[in-house]
């Protein structure tokens, strides 16, 4: 395994580089699975008639449906650095509703990496930002995620 300073330098060298954009279509079935998993039976998401008469003029997805874009589908803990990476927090800003049939293009970049020494030893805190844009070029959301990797875990 590489020494610790090189891990920090390696991570910091990635700051600001954007991932290749990835586009995903918003499927009705995916929205249904999402709202069922949360027991979120809001008629704006699943009652066409109700949604059409609402200010949205049609069905929408829950704002946090953005969680589903670009997931890694990983079967095992993510150990790219030889340790588990912990999801420490998420933040989302919403600008436009997401609708079934939309094609959402998302791009992710690392915005900051810090090194800290805590109770469990040295750790790295990485903050990434993902921008979500629909097929009309409208920004629908921005997500910011904080991930922590502990040394030796």
């Amino acid at each position: 395994m590489a020494d610790e300073s090189s891990i920090l330098e390696q991570l910091q060298s990635e700051i600001g580089k954007e991932s290749p954009p990835r586009s995903e279509e918003v499927e009705k079935g995916a929205i249904r699975r999402f709202v069922n998993a949360l027991g979120d039976h809001n008629p704006l998401y699943e009652d066409e008639e109700f949604a059409r008469k609402s200010r949205y003029g049609g069905e929408i997805a829950p704002p946090l449906f953005v969680i589903t874009f670009g997931r890694q589908r990983r079967p095992q803990p993510d150990t790219r650095l030889g340790r588990a990476i912990i999801n420490a927090g998420n933040e989302y800003e919403f600008f436009q509703p997401i609708r079934p049939g939309d094609v959402i293009t998302h791009t992710r970049k690392l915005v900051d990496v810090k090194e800290r020494t805590g109770r469990l030893g040295r750790m790295y805190i990485a903050i990434s930002e993902t921008t979500y844009v629909n097929q009309r070029g409208e920004k629908v959301a921005i997500g910011r995620g904080t991930h922590i990797t502990h040394e030796g875990r």
């Binding site: 809001n42 200010r55 829950p62 803990p77 998420n90």
Partner: protein, 147 residues
């Protein structure tokens, strides 16, 4: 069904919004969430894998707790209110068998560009009283004249 949602005039700093009680949460719920978010990290449903990763057992996904806090907010906002921002930190673990109560309290109100903004403190609380998922939210609600 959902309500029309609150009018901004009826919301005051210090108000608690209706709580959402979820649980007891089962492994099946967590597997269903894996399917919904298409992320099958095994520490959420495979006890042996969770223990091998150094955890006391399977843990509830952070995103699941974020999703439930979002549902609490949109349930309250009803047809007319809008969720603008949500931010949560995952500070502690919750486990299958736990019941999570999602809570929110109004901390600020202001008008910007003709829109009525409301800020809230949000959190989950399990049956042991642990607030593992604190956060904040920003929403907008129409004034009663425009409802």
């Amino acid at each position: 069904m959902i309500s029309k949602g609150p009018a901004s005039e009826d919301v005051n700093v210090g108000d608690e919004i209706p709580r959402l009680v979820v649980g007891p949460i089962t492994i099946q719920d967590l597997v269903e969430w894996c399917g919904a978010e298409e992320d099958y990290l095994n520490i959420h449903y495979d006890e042996a894998a969770a223990k091998a990763a150094g955890l006391p057992g399977c843990v509830i996904q952070g995103y699941f707790k974020c999703g439930m806090l979002g549902r609490m907010l949109t349930d309250w906002l009803g047809e007319r209110g809008t969720l603008k921002k949500i931010a949560v930190s995952y500070r502690g673990m919750d486990f299958p068998g736990d019941t999570l109560t999602c809570c929110g309290k109004v901390t600020n109100k202001y008008v910007q560009k003709d829109e009525n903004y409301i800020e809230l403190e949000i959190w989950t609380e399990n049956q042991r009283g642990e607030k593992t998922t604190p956060g904040t939210a920003v929403v907008t609600a129409p004034s009663s004249a425009r409802r």
